[in-house]
């Protein structure tokens, strides 16, 4: 028992050393970062954060990211919920093949789609918009979310549907007032995965945005290399991009263990 908690503590320490390092770097002056090696800032400075909060570029890219991430979560769920219902409740011609084809998209490397996305979105005149990024991220999020939700829905006996219809429920009412509450944990988990992926994704977000919808993840990489690396600034931007993640994790922590098994344990 004792040995286990020691191992676990050691693991968590190792896990958080790099993050700790980033946090303290964000609080150091550039001089301290470059010229000395300190485990704790000699003089804590919030100068880096002040620069980010006052910079129009940083602020707008934070807002851009949040916008397309939320847009993607909504779009994905709207499409995935009915699709997962169809897969979990009905047999139809080609259902297995379709399901597998959807999943293969989850396997597709983003790099493969970089150029065609750019060209397609130029053609559709949505290049460099929030909608375009959200749409592109559906490529990965939709199959995964359908998969997760299908798992959760299959865990709910069909008899529940049948009983509801016998009781005279019409489909939309049944779906809204009985079925959706039952799979709420699944929806939460699905939303969590969409949020995560969309928030961290870099390749596509970079390829299909220029200025209008430029996400914070891209702004971050641009910061590298230009006028010598501003490590302190990068570190503080890094810290700020982690915060939404921590908030999300905190809110879904009770579903997390179950959700990561995708309801298939």
């Amino acid at each position: 028992m004792k040995k286990r908690s020691i191992t676990l503590t050691a693991y968590f320490l190792l896990l958080f050393v790099p993050i700790y390092w980033m946090v303290i770097t964000s609080l150091k002056t550039d001089v301290e970062i470059l010229q000395s090696f300190t485990l704790f800032p000699r003089k804590i400075t919030f100068e880096n954060y002040r620069e980010i909060f006052t910079s129009e570029v940083w602020r707008s890219s934070f807002i851009n990211s949040i916008t397309y991430v939320l847009l993607n979560v909504v779009m994905t769920l709207m499409a995935a919920i009915p699709a997962a219902y169809a897969f979990s409740r009905w047999k139809f011609r080609g259902d297995h093949h379709l399901f597998f084809w959807l999943l293969t998209n989850r396997m597709a490397p983003a790099a493969v789609f970089m150029v065609p996305f750019t060209e397609l979105y130029y053609m559709l005149n949505i290049y460099d918009t929030h909608f375009a990024v959200a749409l592109a991220h559906c490529l990965f999020n939709l199959p995964l979310t359908i998969w997760i939700l299908e798992g959760f829905m299959s865990g709910i006996p069909k008899e529940i549907d049948e009983t509801a219809f016998v009781d005279g429920y019409r489909f939309p009412l049944f779906f809204r007032s009985i079925f959706l509450p039952l799979i709420a944990p699944g929806i939460g988990v699905g939303a969590f995965f969409c949020f995560t992926f969309s928030w961290v994704e870099l390749i596509l977000a970079k390829a299909i945005t220029l200025t209008e919808a430029k996400p914070v993840v891209v702004t971050l990489t641009v910061g590298i290399g230009a006028e010598g690396v501003k490590w302190g600034l990068l570190a503080s931007a890094g810290v700020l991009t982690i915060i939404p993640g921590i908030l999300v994790v905190y809110f879904v922590r009770n579903y997390m263990a179950k959700g990561f098994a995708l309801g298939r344990v």
Binding site: Y11, A86, T104, V249, A257, A261, L262
Partner: protein, 285 residues
């Protein structure tokens, strides 16, 4: 009535055709042409595929990629299960542990890049200074092994928590009775793990193995930000390779290598899935 499933699938099909089917067709189309900026594409059949297969750089990247994914799985799966076994089963520590595990998963790829650059950079990094104490001269931008191992380390750091979470969910679902029975039967700790825990974890581990395989096969941002694919080609993995070609506007070549790449991922995933979903007895038969 017959159309009802398709009605429910309609939004998915529309979204997926825009974000998956049409782009895929476009990639296939590129792969059959020679394309130069400004000129009309020329149809060349399977020539691009032949070029890709004959390209030592491509084969190098593929081999490197396979090695990388294999090593990542070999480390992350056992480590993840091991850590999951150390997790508390109830009480307040559970929530905290879960949140801590979730955090690395939600760090954007390029922030991971930043975190680790701060950590590994030869002038300001922690690792070079630490290893220097032992007389080891660590340098990601000069030493191929250092670079490869560093990317591997980052992947392990970033993604083992996912395996832990999966394994933990699996562990929680094993009824206590099974452990009681093993105890009554006089099984040792190892045998209990081997015959009770592991078999019960199979379905979640299958899932973890698949997800980790697919994702490690797509590794892109880490080498891009940490090593730029170097030194030499030591960390040029498949995604980076394809993206480089696309950025250089060698679209025909990039398209063909993309298709081969996609094909390898799908086939490997499928084989992996079949393999682990079959028990030893059945395989023998």
């Amino acid at each position: 009535m017959r159309q009802r499933p398709w009605l429910f699938l309609l939004p998915t099909l529309v979204l997926m055709s825009i974000s998956a089917f049409i782009p895929l067709m476009a990639v296939i189309n590129y792969s059959l042409h020679t394309i130069f900026a400004g000129s009309t594409p020329e149809f060349v059949g399977l020539q691009n595929y032949a070029d890709v297969m004959g390209d030592a750089q491509f084969r190098g990247a593929l081999l490197r990629q396979l090695t990388f994914s294999l090593l990542a799985l070999l480390i992350e799966i056992p480590l993840g299960v091991g850590i999951a076994l150390c997790m508390p089963r109830k009480g307040g520590a559970v929530g905290l542990s879960l949140v801590l595990l979730g955090i690395p998963l939600l760090i954007p790829y390029n922030v991971v890049g930043i975190v680790w650059r701060l950590f590994t950079q030869s002038d300001i990094g922690v690792i070079p200074r630490f290893l220097a104490v032992f007389g080891y001269d660590y340098n990601v931008s000069l030493d191929a092994t250092d670079a490869f191992m560093t990317i591997l380390l980052v992947d392990v750091w970033h993604w083992t928590p996912l395996v832990v979470l999966l394994a933990y969910a699996g562990l929680q679902a094993i009824p206590q009775t099974f452990y009681q029975a093993a105890e009554v039967d006089g099984a040792s700790a190892w045998k209990t793990f081997r015959y009770v825990t592991l078999p019960k974890l199979r379905s979640v581990l299958t899932l973890g193995l698949l997800i980790r395989f697919m994702d490690s096969f797509k590794v892109y941002s880490e080498p891009l930000l940490l090593t730029g694919g170097g030194p030499g080609n030591a960390t040029t993995f498949m995604s980076l390779f394809v993206a480089r070609k696309a950025e250089a506007y060698e679209l025909g070549y990039a398209g063909a290598s993309s298709i081969i790449y996609l094909y390898v991922v799908i086939v490997m995933s499928y084989i992996l899935f079949q393999f682990i979903n079959r028990s030893p007895e059945e395989r023998r038969a």
